[in-house]
Symmetry: C2
Subunit: 353 residues, 2 copies
């Protein structure tokens, strides 16, 4: 039997190391889509500095492609589509639109190795019949201009996000197969089955919905934030709000994670990815990190005084980023009447943004 | 009897028009302290475009001075010290330190024509025995590089902020005198006695503690904010929190101001001053606009879920601005341990900031 074919979409810190893991085990044929930096990577490959894989120069997976469409034409069809891009449903292109050109046989297994909540259902709705798996990565890895800095070991939790009774046939076997082609024999990485991957997502949100969100607003690293505002004044109670929302869905997060996450960056002066994105003028993963949890809080009547203030503020930041990126151009004439109707006017005249 | 001498400290939009009002009536001898732009104003005066005073070129009051000390030496002592600077008690110099060089006879009347709450007591403590008056300006006026744009009529409410029983002798007469030298005969401006000027301050905070604060965080004009976030989602409930804090102090604000302020900028795409300051890298009037109200809310156990989230976020913005202005330089070695103690370490090693 021939090796399974894996398409990885997203060549940032997570995607590059996933490609490296899969290429290292060599139990699959790996195609990596490299969009903006295709020419750079095509010419000189990745330069990688990894805590587990060491120093690599001019490294490439089996194949790279400039677009999902090119990948499909040249190296498809694929058995697995591993999505490691940011998930910004309010951005110029949704994740469903991104993978569309790679859907060919109807048997592609879609793996969402992305942050945030509520990302699986839109994919299931767009591609019914496909097995959609949910992955949570705990890696520390950043990509800049061809260079991957990977100080935190690649650690993936993989599972079917649906309750057992609703899972498609073959789901368990596909998880098992993907784990077997991804896990390196010498434990350079770890990939394990997670039977409750939604809980894992909520637990990661305890960090992301608080530290990421605050950094996008104030553009400080976590240590500077923590020297200005007592952990108990803002960060800790906000984290407990995330736990309360999860609980309203029947998910009991490990509360010891609050202290763990509060102190995980002590002394490191680390800027969360959302803070970096906002600073660089990139759109932020607002709706999957904060918007979807807030909609659940509202549905279940959970009191979230801090997050309910952070969310509209972050919507304003996202608005500013979108406008600066030219996603819309405000005509002041459209906003001369009563400001109560501005959101309606905006939605009608400027589309989904 | 010779004319009273007035020293105006702060030559921004408010101070320049105050100087113009006083010089126009010509019932006092006016000295204006112009700090950073002294050479410019000394050479060519102010260029003023005013809704009531019209177009003026090369305009100057009776005297200008480069510093409070120079003003005192050359044109003092003064009967009135009118302070129109920003009030930033956590900045490099407090308002008490600013006016210190102008205190000579012990009879100077100090008038605080500034925004915010809790600004009078520090002045009374620094200069006991001096009459301290409190002024609220409703002017629309901005100063940039020698040019004053004054689209909103000069309207001042002036009063003694203390309860009647605690007022110093002569306070009422001084208010009356200042009004008489400030009010133009042809009603180009309006200055009136306000017997409850604290209420007026709280009412102005309904706007400033919300719109100013949000703009400093997200750097958008109010209309853009209002097209992204429903007025009822953030702005209106935040304004009601200000009203609730005032009420806990026995001050009943006019609640119709909420709607008035929400719609006062409809169609104008106006950026509040705090948003402009933050954008320009200037320190913001955080403690007088939001910090002091929050301390009252805490003392009186008022529930302020939105403002209690905004306040720490704004402290982070102020921190960022202070660091960028070189008010301190963080040594990362000081912040390597448990982040719970970072605020204490910061306070001890980096002083009051």
């Amino acid at each position: 039997m021939s090796k399974p074919k894996v398409l990885i979409i997203g060549s940032g810190g997570v995607g590059a190391i996933s490609a490296l893991s899969l290429t290292t085990t060599n139990k699959s044929e790996v195609t990596l889509v490299v969009r903006s930096d295709y020419d750079l990577i095509d010419k000189q490959g990745f330069s990688i500095n990894s805590c587990t894989y060491g120093e690599l120069k001019n490294w490439k997976p089996h194949h790279i492609a400039r677009s999902v469409k090119d990948a499909q034409t040249q190296y498809g069809p694929f058995d697995y589509i591993l999505l490691t891009t940011k998930n910004i449903p309010d951005g110029p292109i949704t994740c469903e639109e991104i993978i569309q050109p790679a859907i060919k046989t109807g048997n592609e297994v879609i793996i969402l190795l992305q942050n945030g909540l509520g990302i699986e259902n839109p994919m299931v709705e767009a591609f019914p019949g496909h097995i959609v798996l949910s992955g949570v990565s705990l890696i520390g890895s950043t990509y800049i201009d061809g260079h991957v800095r990977n100080p935190g070991r690649d650690h993936v939790f993989l599972g079917d996000f649906k309750p057992e009774s609703e899972r498609l046939p073959g789901s368990a076997e596909k998880i098992e197969e993907f784990i077997s082609i991804y896990q390196t024999p010498d434990n350079k990485n770890t990939i394990v089955l997670d039977t409750n991957v939604q809980k894992r997502r909520w637990e990661k949100l305890i960090y992301n919905s608080v530290f990421n969100v605050i950094s996008a607003l104030v553009e400080l690293d976590n240590c500077r934030t923590q020297m200005t505002v007592q952990n108990d004044e803002l960060i800790r109670p906000a984290m407990y709000e995330v736990i309360a929302i999860a609980k309203s869905e029947g998910i009991e997060c490990d509360e010891s994670l609050v202290d763990k996450y509060i102190h995980i960056g002590d002394g490191l002066f680390y800027v969360p990815s959302m803070g970096i994105d906002a600073h660089k003028g990139q759109l932020i993963e607002l709706e999957t990190i904060l918007g979807n949890p807030m909609r659940i809080a509202k549905k279940n009547n959970v009191s979230t005084p801090i997050l309910s203030t952070l969310y509209p503020l972050l919507k304003l930041v996202q608005f500013r980023l979108k406008e600066k990126r030219g996603m819309f151009t405000i005509d002041k004439n459209d906003f001369q009447g009563n400001s109560d109707v501005y959101p309606k006017v905006f939605a009608e005249k400027y589309g989904k943004h």
